[in-house]
Symmetry: C2
Subunit: 528 residues, 2 copies
């Protein structure tokens, strides 16, 4: 879904011209309909949804975040500016002014954030885009100009010996992966939003996704990158080589920078051999310690073919079942925890033998209480459905408070119990309508120590929010976890970074921001 950020180009005069850059991207979410929004409400004013001609519209972000003020150093778009962009970008469709066409760029897919942008630019090349490019982040806050990267969507080259793919930042992830599939390779990132997210946005937000366990971080997979800096400089770090030790690896700063120091326009990515065989098992377990033991055994038995180890608690599966009662649950019994184990390898027979040995071991040792293994692609999809539909289903009753966090494995699930107890003690959690919250669920990428802590609510309620924050962030800080595992900071977590980073680190980050963007025109009001 749309994940946007803003930047402003310094005009020749003393005032700056305000631009906003938009790209369809993702924070690495795992929903089948798009990524989760960047965390949830954290400001006092509960954000209400306005019904408009049958369409739910978000409150203006500027109203929902009254602390935010438009930076009056930034200029306002004039007819002169628009004429300039039309001259620069040529094609009529590259400069979007009509309100109805601009509006989709102002709002996120969850209808939680709404900016007031009045101009969208759609460059077709780095040169033409000028000082523009790809920026991760969220919707504009005020009247930033949006720059959509959708037209920069060419695949430039693929070398099937080295596995290096060179492509524009505006390429859709799934399109890139389909291109690779035809050539026996795989994009080293996969996530629910792949049908709409752009690879440039994936890199700008350092998306994690479903197969991080197997293919690792984008910091390792991205071989090269082209970006446009705030002053218009084109940073050409588009190496296609796996090894290149010639000076500082500057491109790394742009991976996960959410467009705050430059706009990614092109990428070179190392793409592995595509696995010929995929297997999926769905397990029921008696406790979280059992799940931890199962993960250890999975690592030991499956090693190089283990591509996902996902955790879902009982409540998450109950809520999915409540929304989709017609669908048969994978296991007959009820279990406190479920795990989805996936293998991806080059030899189906070998992989299945390894998976069987793993399953025999964990069953005979009573680590796993029950389990099923998918027999075909349809069953694989069905089993993944019980994991991937969690984010969507739990929003069914009204809303969700969402936290995407990393916590060392021994403590990882304890936060769910503690939050549940806290909300229950405060009378905020219960089965009847008088309680705003109806469920506290934990699920996520156990293999990466990455938990999605979600609180399903019947309605947004200031008391729930106050019970959760800063409680959750303090809880995580105490265990040296991360308040943002794979979703980034955006607007939502900007003010909470100190829970995961020391003052020294934040100061050093601000130094980098100031170095590249002294006027603060890239993605203003967000990130850091």
């Amino acid at each position: 879904m749309a994940c946007r950020a803003s930047f402003m180009r310094v005009a020749s005069g003393s005032r700056a011209l305000l631009l906003t850059t938009t790209t369809t991207t993702t924070h690495g979410g795992t929903s089948s309909i798009g990524p989760p929004p960047p965390a949830c409400l954290r400001y006092p004013a509960p954000r209400t949804f306005m019904q408009s001609a049958g369409r739910r519209r978000a409150q203006l972000t500027a109203d929902a975040y009254p602390e935010l003020r438009r930076d009056e150093r930034f200029g306002r778009v004039t007819g002169e500016h628009v004429a300039f962009f039309k001259q620069l970008l040529g094609s009529g469709s590259a400069v979007v002014e009509a309100e109805a066409d601009v509006e989709p760029f102002n709002e996120d897919w969850m209808h939680k954030y709404r900016g007031q942008c009045r101009l969208v630019l759609r460059p077709a090349s780095t040169d033409q885009g000028g000082n523009t490019g790809l920026v991760g982040g969220s919707v504009p806050v005020f009247d930033e100009i949006v720059v959509s990267m959708a037209r920069m969507n060419r695949i430039h080259s693929f070398d099937d010996a080295s596995g290096c793919l060179v492509l524009d930042a505006g390429c859709v992830l799934e399109a890139a992966d389909t291109y690779l599939a035809d050539r026996g390779h795989v994009f080293p990132l996969d996530l629910g939003a792949k049908g709409s997210c752009h690879v440039g946005g994936n890199v700008a937000t350092n998306a994690g996704g479903l197969r991080f366990l197997r293919y690792g971080s984008l910091h390792g997979s991205v071989l090269g990158l082209e970006a446009v800096l705030p002053d218009g400089t084109v940073l050409d770090d588009l190496s296609t080589l796996r090894k290149n030790n010639t000076g500082y690896d500057l491109k790394q700063l742009f991976i996960g920078a959410e467009g705050s120091i430059g706009i990614i326009t092109r990428l070179a990515v190392h793409c592995p051999q595509r696995p010929a065989a995929v297997n999926v098992a769905f397990l029921g377990l008696a406790s979280y310690p059992h799940a931890r033991r199962a993960f250890r055994q999975a690592k030991a038995h499956l090693s190089e073919i283990l591509s996902a180890f996902e955790l879902m608690d009982a409540r998450s599966q109950q809520l999915v079942h409540a929304v989709r009662p017609a669908e048969k649950r994978p296991l007959d019994g009820d279990f406190p925890f479920y795990c989805l184990v996936e293998t991806s390898g080059s030899n189906g027979e070998h992989d299945y033998a390894k998976l069987e040995a793993f399953l025999e071991h964990v069953m005979s040792e009573d680590i796993v209480a029950d389990g099923v293994v998918a027999q075909d692609a349809t069953q694989i999809k069905a089993l993944w459905g019980w994991r991937e539909s969690v984010p969507e289903c739990i929003g069914h009753w009204g809303g969700v408070y969402k936290y995407d966090v990393s916590i060392p494995l021994p403590d990882m699930y304890a936060i769910v119990d503690d939050v549940k107890a806290r909300l229950a003690d405060m009378g905020l959690l219960g089965d009847t309508d008088q309680h705003p919250a109806l469920g506290v669920v934990g699920y996520g990428h156990m293999g990466d120590c990455n938990l999605h802590l979600n609180v399903a609510v019947r309605r947004y309620d200031k008391r729930v929010e106050q019970a959760l924050e800063p409680f959750v962030y303090e809880w995580i800080a105490k265990r040296k976890g991360s308040i943002s595992a794979e979703h980034g900071l955006g607007l939502a977590k900007k003010k909470f970074i100190q829970y995961s980073r020391s003052d020294t680190m934040v100061a050093l980050m601000k130094q980098i921001k100031h170095l590249y963007d002294p006027n603060g025109i890239m993605n203003p009001y967000k990130y850091i």
Copy 2:
């Protein structure tokens, strides 16, 4: 072997006090006795070796590089400074002044570089080390103070569920790997120098090594890092989490920075499950295109278990054979090229079956002319010996001009032919003593497009050097290769960076250097 760099600590007065930091590290070389030196002669004056009491000593770097001048903004060590360090570091052994004890820190293992340091510091902790830490690079040039990290060598923690190892920068790589072996895991880096190199130096030089193909870049494996900045600030980015999207990933700048902006003192590294089974095959091939086809087939058949694909040309093997005539060559016939293929997996039977299928395919398709497969650990070691001993053996006749480069695979080997033809045309290459050069060889990590181009010489000769440089760098620049794949810049390649990086990129790198080290006290005279 010792890989060192220099930094200077700003004293309270207007003059600065000069320090040099030393750590046993590596540039990712593959020699069994230590890493290759950072490239070879590139300045007009041929460096001669002085015999001193039976020990070969290098010419002073300051004499070999007459262009270099000591930076007179830097202070000189006084008794007052030494007293200060003794007070700061406490233990007597932490401050080394005796010439015989200091001298080993002044010279590299190839006896090519020799500095004039008179003081070595050996901090035992980040606090005690003060503004010191780990720096990649080479020996000091002038009278920088050396700081050895050898005493900071503790393993702090290992989590066998997540695979995260936290250890001091001064830990020896092999010691870390042995510790992990006992716990069923493996360090994601391996190289010939592992018995002496420090992990901090590995990270500071972004070492590549032998299993890069399998475990990827340190940019992906290093989860966290602690470093001391030139002004004494401790950068605490020691996250143990695989996912942590909270601001700029500053630690990435220190990976491969060769200590030029700070000294790495501690690391958190993601360590994979240790492979239970290793297989090695040694193949003879009719041409370089055959080797490329074999690599493609290895990727297709071996996929997730392919851990090394190494190339050696005929000349490299002839020279090894000439030095070790008693050792039986792996294959009976002579072939223009040889490849070493290694698999590492969790199931020996499965892996062997995959390897057999690969070998049957490449033999039946006439891609490979002949081959052997090791039957036990001794044979594995013997086969690797024919690859790993190349750097050592080719120095047998007098010296070696060494280039560690990345070149896109289709063109990779052509540079060897072109250099051979050029030297032959110029009458510099031949079988008789009148020719300074006796062999031009190519070998290296084919799986990473990383070639080691070596010219074996009977004696160093200015004409050979002039024939090679800038010819080699220009050749690589034309093919968008890298003049330093895994060995870094150090002192040797500082002035050649423009062959791999644009002026814009170099300017942006200098900006980073200036941001962190405005006085230029870290690793002076080197890197950038």
